[in-house]
Amino acid sequence: MSTKPSQSETETETDTEPATTGHQQRRLDDKRARADDRDEAAAQAETEFDGETVELKVFRYDPEIAGKEEPRFDTFTVPFETGMTVLDALIFARDSYDSSLTFRHSCRQAVCGSDAFFVNGSQRLGCQTQIEDLEWPVRVEPLPHSDVVKDLVVEMDHFYDQMESVDPFFDPDDLPDGELEEQRQSRQNRENIKLSTRCIWCGACMSSCNIAAGDNKYLGPAAINKAYRFYMDDREGSEKRQERLEIIEQEHGVWRCQTQFSCTDVCPKDIPLTEHIQELKREAVKENLKFW
């Protein structure tokens, strides 16, 4: 199957069907007009926009569709506009050329964390990546080190399992009694956890991590960062802190990190993941020495 625009989605074969009712005739006329429009748009993409089109080379795979069972790359030619993101280009390709092109996306503003892809060899959010900042043609692949479900969609269950294995919830030893009484937290303490709370669960860090690739049980940067978020929060008490340390220190916890900084480099929310992991190592050492 080719995804060159000029060869996609022509509907001429239906034009010869006899129309039996006025209603049906109108529908067919509409359909022809739309097919013409689409051909025209495709032709434009190749001629008029010449020099202003960008080629996307997109990974394709579908386990149950003939021709897609073996992974391949399709090329889509998309008219380029200033400000266009990788996600915009993918949406254009899907809506104009091939509606089976499949990728997760929702908020378009880098907060839902759905559209982490491997763009020109690096983990990035499609919506946050400007086409003009990339080398062309733009190569878009699913996140490495994950099972591919279809096209750019990867299996996220392992990532979610790791996130949920670190007691990822606030669990204070006690709470204030009075009516409408909040827990106090210093501005400084809030500042200390601020960056760690920005995580949008996109999975870019885990995909970039060589250790996670080789050790399926490794908690990974995002889950350790989640543990950091609660460990560093003064509102939780010392009992829970001790429990958290055990999770962090486990065999497949912080000590696996080899400080390659690949997670920090790809994090779309600029969370200093490697630093957070090292801080937790230091906390663990401090605690362990205390009991010596």
Binding site: C107, Q109, C112, E181, R184
Partner: protein, 615 residues
């Protein structure tokens, strides 16, 4: 068939809060969501959560501000319940660890927001929704509540009595996006819809691609009336190229709006001489578009929002996320340049008609959050009132749905012959001879007066119908791509049902919707795979958008007055004698019925008097 006591459809703020509340009442709860919960659009909310927490403030003042903001189209029992409960719910979030911004004494910070008489907006930077969503999801994980993520709910399993007030909801039908498995979900107690916004009916919106009004459309087709759908909020500060939201928090912290001539137009052109930039959102959006339309905009398209004078320290402390958004999505450095902004579709005040406990007229069916209309926001929602709505009414719906004994509701629901009915002057609803794949026959089928089927049969029958519909869509080898229909619909809505509305424009939109409905009859799904078929999902979502767009426009054409967010060129005043009433639309087997329900101005302790609304 899967079975739970309570099934929550949607995993955003309202759905998560409802699930936690229902579980705390002892129910076996499941959340079914087409995304993973942390992908929900609650996460994009920026500004904050209003609650009267401090000395000098009171729930009565919060209620008064909300009623005034609603332009007297909110129902007093809903507003009172909301303002009374919001403080408890905010403190609950704090107790669940939400990382609120703090004062020097360690207490939760509050800042001024538009239309508020007291700085009562609690916040967590300019990413309050993100923190709220993750905090709630953490509690769902802690409790082990079952989540069916990436399961798309496509229809409600509702009985077929003629009168919607007699119907019962027994569950939903959904398919697993990843595998394509279609399954019934039986709810022994109730179903709670928490499906969020409808922004994809417009083409310039702050809403996510997932905000397609699925819950509103499904409830509507099941016979539940929708309320005040014409009341759409256009947020005054969205980035021109993408619609990405720039929080009201920027103006709350002191950000200033300038037109293309460098004038501080909110004051200099008399739009809001007291509150200026912090007037209610509808007032500011109209002011901006008036400036642009009268030639005082920038590039005839936008105006400027300037926060440079706030200084880097304050901006980084309280609005850092805004710097990232302006840089990533508009290429502007907010520390050095003013940010271009224009109004964009942001929020639906209307929705599925419910009482103050989230109950609809269909027994066992609830709705909460943006998809519902309780009615809290009336004709205009105040900034910072959406997030508390999610937790207040999410929790109430969850408890009630799980069987907790509660007071009798003061708000009535459901169609009634005793209420005023109206005629539509233009064609709406299902096109002629529509028996194709586009129309699931859920509303008033062959069952007649009393539906005697067992609840499991209602769910199983609905599942069969859905399977047939999906098979039909996948079976077609050729036809219309839903994306073309959706794009035209969005364009017409943004052109004709925007901030400024005219009778001709609204009629044009209804004609365009009729045309889109006819084209949709020929829709087909090119992707034949069962695996992660987003083509199929988006095609069904577009059907929901057609219904949603039509309800909005029917309400907008019917309401010939100017109230809150709803401005009509031919009708430049609020008509309290005629229009202290909600516009209600019922699907009525594809022949939409327009009727009205009086606004309730009598609250728990007091009666609100409509006053002139000035800021």
């Amino acid at each position: 068939m899967y079975e739970h006591d309570v099934i929550v459809v949607g995993g955003g703020g309202a759905g998560l809060r409802a699930a936690i509340a229902a579980q705390e009442e002892g129910a076996d709860v499941a959340i079914v969501t087409k995304l993973h919960p942390v992908r929900s659009h609650t996460g994009a909310a920026e500004g904050g959560i209003n609650a009267a927490l401090r000395d000098g403030d009171s729930w009565e003042d919060h209620a008064y501000d909300t009623m005034k903001g609603s332009d007297y189209l909110g129902d007093a029992p809903a507003i009172d319940t909301f303002a009374k409960t919001a403080p408890d719910e905010v403190i609950q979030l704090e107790h669940w660890g939400m990382p609120f911004s703090r004062e020097d004494d360690g207490r939760v910070s509050q800042r001024p927001f538009g239309g508020l008489s007291f700085p009562r907006t609690t916040y967590a930077g300019a990413e309050t929704g993100h923190h709220m969503l993750h905090t709630l999801y953490e509690q769902v994980v802690k409790r082990g509540i079952e989540v069916y993520d990436e399961w798309y709910v496509s229809e409600l399993a509702v009985t077929d009595e003629d009168n919607p007030n007699d119907r019962e909801c027994h569950g939903v039908v959904a398919w697993d996006v990843q595998s394509g498995e279609i399954a019934g979900f039986k709810a022994s107690d109730s179903v709670i819809l928490a499906t969020g916004g409808i922004g994809q009916a417009f083409d310039h919106t702050t809403n996510a691609v997932a905000n397609t009004g699925d819950g509103v459309a499904m409830a509507y087709r099941a016979g539940v009336p929708v309320e005040d759908m014409e009341m759409i909020q256009f947020h005054p500060t969205t980035l021109p190229s993408t619609g990405v939201l720039i929080s009201e928090g920027v103006r709350g912290e002191g950000g200033i709006l300038y037109n293309g001539e460098g004038e501080r137009f909110m004051f200099e052109h008399g739009y809001a001489t007291n509150d200026g930039e912090l007037a209610s959102r509808d007032v500011v959006s109209r002011a901006e578009l008036t400036e642009i339309n009268e030639g005082r905009g920038v590039d005839d398209e936008h105006i400027y929002l300037d926060m440079r004078h706030l200084g880097e320290e304050r901006i980084t402390d309280r609005l850092e996320n805004i710097l990232h958004l302006a840089e990533d999505f508009e290429g502007v450095n907010g520390l050095e340049e003013p940010m271009p902004v224009k109004p964009g579709q942001h929020y639906a005040m209307g929705g599925i008609e419910t009482n103050e406990f989230g109950e609809t007229c269909v027994s066992g069916l609830y709705a909460a959050g943006e998809c519902a209309c309780v009615s809290l926001h009336g004709a205009n929602r105040l900034g910072g009132n959406a997030l508390p709505e999610l937790i207040v009414f999410g929790a109430l719906a969850g408890r009630h749905a799980a069987g907790k004994e509660m007071a009798d509701p003061l708000i009535e629901t459901g169609p009634s012959d005793a209420l005023e009915h109206d005629e539509l002057s233009v064609p709406t609803g299902a096109p002629d001879g529509d028996a194709g794949v586009a129309e699931p026959a859920t509303d008033g089928g062959a069952q007649g007066a009393v539906d005697t089927r067992a609840p499991t049969d209602v769910v199983a029958d609905t599942a069969t119908t859905e399977e047939e519909r999906i098979e039909a869509l996948l079976g077609r080898e050729d036809g219309v791509n839903h994306a073309d229909v959706r794009a035209d619909l969005q364009q017409s809505m943004t052109e004709n049902v925007n901030v400024f509305r005219t009778e001709d424009g609204l009629k044009q939109a209804l004609a365009d919707i009729q045309d889109a409905r006819k084209r949709y009859q020929d829709v087909y799904v090119a992707d034949k795979s069962r695996t992660f078929n987003t083509d199929l999902q988006h095609t069904i979502e577009t059907r929901n958008l057609l219904d949603v767009a039509e309800m909005i426009t029917i309400g907008a054409l019917a309401r010939d007055e100017f109230r809150g967010a709803h401005w009509r060129k031919e009708h430049q005043e609020r008509k309290d004698d005629e229009w202290l009433k909600h516009t209600m639309v019922s699907w009525n087997d594809g022949d939409p019925d327009l009727w009205y329900r009086p606004v309730l101005l009598e609250g728990h302790d007091d009666t609100y008097e409509p006053k002139t609304r000035s800021y």
